[in-house]
Point group: C2
Chain length 419, copies 2
């Protein structure tokens, strides 16, 4: 008899997974290796930025009080007493109508409280004249204007992008406390699978899901433990999965989750005492995607069909792993775009169609990336987004605006915005 | 005297850079290391996909001719002769009203040309009945429906994302010919710069641009050669830059490109005989960004101000390096969003304001990421996009729709869509 499964909505499935995503530990890494990791602690300003009153221009540091009354008719003359570049401190304290020639980035000398830009002067040897008064702190980047000492600059949980690296460097973080990366194991199932280096045989295909998932993980900065192929035997499957969950935070399997005669995973989950969060989702492709959870380890049972496998990973595995690292933007970015092709068929379930998204000043457009059955592999290679057609809708026409999820952003977004 | 420079429009500056981006060589890498690289050769289907007529369901393989006339009132009975899973070939050739029980992914046995899904049958021991006729090839994934043998599946120049990995695996590419990564050297300038591990000193700041650029390069998969800090001496600068261009495809410097008294790079470019593509761009921040070119090597003279440095890299260095690898999507993705804050000031030049972009079913919104002077470092850490306010415009109000460039996409787009 074929087991009857009760499908649940995609959003409900996403929520069930995310509720189980417990945080991993943290570790310290050198700044040079911190790009792409998730901050385990906030970045705190260890000093004000800039750390001193700073000249943002090439010019002359003056006392604003000496500039009072300057005009085109009544120019005021200053005498240059010193000349400093960035990184240099002038030992001179400004007296009346004295100035220090100063370059961008240098600290104001003692007594100075304004910067006259070079182009605001007429220079004559060691003197120059100005023709307008300057207010206190005019043309000055005051100490602390960018950041105050003790201020939280970046919150814990943030993705470490290049700008975060810049503030870490500014504040002298030679080492950074980041979330450890979840340990993810990968088990393929399917007696039809050949390795990439094997010649094709009748009835067989090469395992493309394994390398694909390894790359999906690598895109997130996560290495994948290749744990081999599950044998065509339920007891052996059980033992391999049991061993995998001991060493991994998440075990991904491809194939074997359906209700076919050789799909052993459902009974393996049962024997492991795993809680099956769902085993049928109202979506195409990937409706058989199963997620289970046991001893703090996720079991992601993805479809063996390439397109379905890809969708299952991006919708469930990716956000769970990101959330485990403490990041609060685990979801694929949402946008809208205008369809450039008809989708005549009705959609009983949510459909995720691999597609090519383009945004231009004339609008945002999306077209299917080719052949889009669940077993397609070529359309995965061509797309950069999913068209999402909600379940319960009739067909869509060219020109209709549709929901889109973008694939391949280094950072995600905070919430799942679809049903 | 202060040198007068003639600023050119951003688009013109981008074009001048891109015209000089010559392709680098290619190399072979193992499939496991190919993610994130650029294909140097197209991916060609070495066999049809699927490679055989394939069952997309769990069910029974039958001869469609035997199903003619089946109805609820006149069910037709079949006898099951064999039972195969994926990867298995049945040795049985179907005779009249014979069937083979078949699982998803298995090849159709000889004689069969249709699949009856399990749920379309009533099973009784070794027989089952059907109540509707099946057309030839009904419920069959025919050989080659996804890809024909010899078809170009992915063009040369494509970014190798996980879907490309899947097709490479499918077609048995254990090694992949990819573009070599450009060799990029980084030289900091500025006597005010401390290393990240040094304690703060009066008048000095830590070098944040170096680690930031290294991370911007790492985001593109490119390692950066840290070539040190340029000394405060023109001859020594000349010698260091000259050495750098011999070993690098691109040399990035930060600071020292302005017209200040300690800015030696303009004269270094002259002594090298480099062609200066531009040294002033109509943009804020980063108007002093300079790009020069000599002996097939780019010299990217980025501003020493962190925000300006970041912008200069993303607008000029990034697309040039991507284009050198033969990829045709080197530009930051464009989108539009509604401003959530006023920008009262007029914009004589194009402004690139580091900002936080969010797209939701209710619309796309963008807000500035905080303090946005060219010397700001904190706003770089907080944003994921640039607000682009065109030069020659008056202020913008909250609620206005503005141009946006997205930062941090793994892939870019094909064209520069802004002026």
């Amino acid at each position: 008899m074929v087991e009857k499964r009760k499908p649940i909505p995609v959003k409900e499935a996403v929520d069930r997974v995310m509720k189980r995503a417990a945080h991993v530990k943290s570790e310290s890494v050198p700044l040079e290796e911190a790009y792409g990791r998730i901050l385990a602690e906030p970045v705190i300003a260890s000093h004000p930025v800039p750390p001193f009153d700073r000249s943002p221009y090439d010019g002359f540091a003056v006392r604003s009080v000496d500039t009072k009354g300057a005009s085109g008719e009544s120019r005021i003359t200053f005498t240059v007493m010193d000349h400093i570049g960035a990184g240099t401190i002038s030992s001179h304290t400004l007296g009346e109508r004295e100035a220090v020639r100063i370059m961008t980035g240098a600290p104001l000398p003692a007594g100075a409280d304004a910067i006259v830009m070079l182009e605001q002067t007429v220079i004559d040897g060691q003197t120059f004249t100005i023709r307008k008064p300057f207010a206190p702190m005019e043309n000055v980047s005051p100490k602390g204007e960018d950041a105050k000492e003790g201020e939280v600059i970046v919150e814990a949980g943030a993705f470490i992008q290049p700008g975060v690296i810049a503030v870490l460097a500014t504040f002298g973080y030679t080492n950074v406390q980041v979330a450890t990366r979840p340990i993810v194991g990968l088990l393929a199932t399917g007696t039809e699978l050949l390795e990439v280096n094997e010649p094709l045989e009748p009835g067989k295909i090469r395992n493309s899901n394994g390398p694909m998932i390894a790359a999906q993980l690598k895109r997130m900065g996560i290495d994948c433990r290749l744990l081999g192929t599950l044998p065509d035997d339920e007891d052996a499957c059980f033992n391999m999965v049991k061993e995998a969950i001991h060493e991994c935070d998440a075990v991904i399997t491809t194939g074997g989750v359906s209700v076919g005669d050789f799909d052993y995973l459902p009974s393996v989950y049962k024997r492991l005492g795993a809680e099956v969060l769902f085993n049928k989702v109202m979506m195409r492709p990937g409706s058989v995607t199963t997620v289970a959870h046991v001893n703090d380890t996720f079991l992601f049972g993805l479809s063996g069909n390439p397109s379905a496998c890809f969708v299952g990973f991006e919708l469930f595995t990716r956000p769970a792993l990101i959330s485990m690292m403490g990041n609060d933007k685990p979801y694929l970015p949402y946008t809208k775009a205008v369809l450039t092709a008809d989708f005549a068929k009705a959609n009983p379930f949510n459909r995720f169609i691999r597609a090519i998204y383009e945004s231009t000043p004339k609008g945002s457009f999306i077209e299917p990336a080719g052949f889009n059955k669940s077993n397609s592999v070529t359309s995965i290679a061509r797309g950069n987004a999913f068209i999402v057609l909600p379940g319960g809708t009739r067909g869509f026409q060219k020109g209709d605006e549709v929901d889109v999820l973008l694939i391949g952003k280094e950072e995600g977004v905070e919430s799942w915005m679809l049903n």
